[in-house]
């Protein structure tokens, strides 16, 4: 299976994504330049973390108009999987691939640490490798990860089971301290309505081997491979 990893000017997690896919998952990956106009046969697109275009204006606002994004949008419209991580999540929201927006953390602090997430729905091609309600440790590293959307959108996301990751404490409970950025309803990751685009602020690609503190992100990549091969 071929993963296309988009490199925008300012992307800095494209290598981590490559490492996760090639070295840990044993699948193929290649980089797609932001000025490219086709996906070169990628089965899965990864929009990686970083600071595309310096995050000027708003995170993801300028990257969303990169030439490659038209191909990414077409791929998503065909039902092709897109994994949008951190800055990629911001870009996907700006591009309208996912609802809502990511704003400055409520604390105004950049937060870089391991966090606990609860897997809320395993009925997706990104989460089938987890067990329902599983608590995983995945790092976050962002200053603008506060997910917001209007109440109707949030209700729809919840009702459709499209909130797939939520910030929780180590024991799995929700409280203010468990939420690192003030995201509404502790949302850490959501799916689009066709469930083929996942946006999440935490970095599963940085948690694919125990030596870096957690291997809990690998199941997400394995889920994608399992879904496409199925």
């Amino acid at each position: 299976m071929k993963f296309g990893i988009v490199t925008f000017p300012g992307s800095n997690c494209d290598y981590d994504a490559y490492h996760a896919v090639v070295d840990q998952l044993g699948e193929q990956a290649f980089y797609l330049w932001h000025k490219d106009t086709d996906l070169q046969g990628a089965d899965v697109v990864i929009l990686p973390g970083g600071f595309s275009y310096g995050d000027y204006l708003r995170c993801g606002a300028i990257a969303r108009f990169s030439p490659i994004m038209e191909a990414v949008a077409a791929h998503a419209a065909r039902g092709g999987p897109v994994l949008a991580i951190c800055n990629g999540f911001q870009i996907a929201c700006e591009a309208g691939l996912l609802p809502g927006a990511l704003l400055r953390n409520a604390s105004l602090k950049y937060v870089c640490e391991q966090r606990h997430l609860r897997v809320e729905n395993v009925d997706s091609r990104f989460t089938s490798g987890y067990t329902a309600g599983q608590i995983v440790r995945i790092p976050i590293a962002h200053g603008e990860g506060r997910y917001v959307a209007d109440g109707a959108t949030l209700d729809r996301l919840e009702g459709d089971g499209r909130v797939v990751f939520r910030y929780v404490g180590a024991e799995g409970g929700s409280d203010e301290r468990a939420n690192p950025n003030g995201s509404l309803r502790d949302i850490a990751g959501i799916l689009n309505d066709k469930r083929n685009v996942l946006g999440m602020m935490p970095h599963p690609e940085r948690a694919v081997e125990p030596i870096v503190g957690s291997g809990d992100g690998l199941a997400l990549f394995e889920s994608i491979v399992g879904a496409v091969h199925a």
Binding site: L57, R58, A61, I62, F65, C93, E94, P99, G100, A101, L103, R104, N105, A106, S107, L108, R146, V148, A149, D150, G182
Partner: protein
């Protein structure tokens, strides 16, 4: 075609937590401005452009806001003024 300077204000939507504004309000309180009841921090964008008329410049600026300069999910925008630049420099030079 005349040149215009367009001043645009982009502010966080009402009801959306603005932690930056809150931090500034807290700082103002600390500095001896207890009368401050609320602060919201937005963005001021100045665009210089060419257009057939001020109305046309205004219309295009609204499109720029809707497509890029403001995020409709979280921000409101207001086009504060559209000034013909040549007229401004003529005035400046007396």
């Amino acid at each position: 075609m005349p040149a215009y300077r367009i001043e645009i204000r982009v502010v966080p939507r009402r009801g959306i937590l603005d932690p930056q504004g809150k931090a500034v309000a807290d700082a103002l309180h600390s500095l001896g401005f207890p009368e401050v009841t609320d602060v919201r921090v937005g963005r001021h964008v100045v665009v210089e452009t060419r257009a057939a008329s001020a109305d046309e410049a205004q219309r295009r600026a609204a499109e720029m806001c809707e497509r890029l300069l403001a995020n409709p999910v979280t921000e409101d925008f207001e086009i504060e003024q559209v000034v013909e630049i040549a007229a401004v420099s003529a005035a400046a030079h007396g």
